[in-house]
Amino acid sequence: MSDSILSVTNLKKSYGKLEVLKDIDMEIKKGEVVCVIGPSGSGKSTLLRCLNMLEQPDGGTITLKGNQVFGDGKSQDLDVLRRDVGMVFQSFNLFPNMTAEGNVSIAQRKVRNRKGDFCKERSVELLTQVGLAEKVDEYPDRLSGGQQQRVAIARALAMDPEVMLFDEVTSALDPELVKGVLDVMRGLADDGMTMVCVTHEMAFAKEVSDRVIFMDGGLIVEQGKPEDVLGNPQEERTQRFLGLVLDH
């Protein structure tokens, strides 16, 4: 398919004897918002980390924009892959030795080789976009969790990625801070960003995503439009999982 931006085939990953990903095939189209849901230990975070090669898969292929970045157990230039794939983590991972602006600027300067003034301007613009215009010069330890996570999103966006990966980005936040982060993600989706989100926010998945993937035991059990997978799941495992997360 020509509008496929990121695809994986037969992806496998084990930690010792534990098979975390058994055989994953997935294709993400340009502009698509995909939410990956599933119980803890189902392999969804590992899948996401493999997409960015933070974990080395044991087998299968990963193709970004038509270039095979991983296959036959070997990988291509990973720094180039990661440049085009933005990632946001559950634990923010902001650089504590830099201000918010520094966090957003550093990779622009060192990886994209952009000029200082240009970086700063772009960083302030992105921080404004995520609602942190007043926090540009603050260090991470002076920001709330929700603010830190929004800086992390701005930091990933600064590289102008083709795809954004979100790994349970609201799981470590206090409930009242979740909305601010989800609002930023909604805005990105509306702007046409290609996104893969591992999430426990079912309402968000339902409202924003084009497709929901349910994973369990290292396999994709069911996928489709959010209203189908979340509203009328076909597989017994999906029904059981949704019964547990929605009934409270």
Binding site: D79, R82, R83, D84, M87, F95, N97, A107, K110, A156
Partner: protein
Amino acid sequence: MDTILDLFFNFDFMWDHKDEILDGFWITIKLSLVGGFFALIWGLILSLIRQLPGKVLAPFRWITIGYIDVLRGIPLLLVILLISNGLATLASEGVIPKEIGIPQWLGESDPFWYGVIALTLTYGAYMAEVYRAGIEAVPRGQMEAARSLGMSHGQAMRYVIVPQAVRKVVPPLLNDFIALTKDTALISAIGLAETVQVGSDLYSQFFSLSGYTAGAICFLVLTLPLARLVDWQIKKQDEKFQRGIP
């Protein structure tokens, strides 16, 4: 009692010989600063090689680990003797040029530079372990975040990991520097007229131990403020990173 005071604490004697004593002390200070400076750099280089990723670079890691183990496992005095006699012999055999074998750079004597080399080799190994602890104390997510932005391993180390690691290890590095300062005394074994050697010279000439006492005072002048500085640094870090339990 008077004899003891006269032997160890004869301040008139110290005053009469203040020029020799201060000359020795000045050499101790120079040796500590120059040796400490190179040890800091050499230690960082060793710790960075030790952290290189991937299978291809594994031999470099092994060599570095071997080096650190060996240099931490043998006495500094032995390193000093090996370096001074080794380099001097190699130079006289014509294996290496005289400028390297009998170094007298920047107007300092060859024992001074043998001392600097030995201190750098040994204390570089100690400091490499301190840096390593600091690097390993930086959360894994920092490296992942840096790499996910497309930074290379080297860039991630340079801009993200090492600046955080160094801040964490300032107190233990200062402790190593205090130890290094005291260990400069061992270089008296190859005839460098540093603080302790001056004390020995005064003793053999005048049978007075006050030269040694003066040397001890000189060392304390240097090390006591450093010890307080370490405590102050630790306190500063504690205030930043932990909230006290009432």
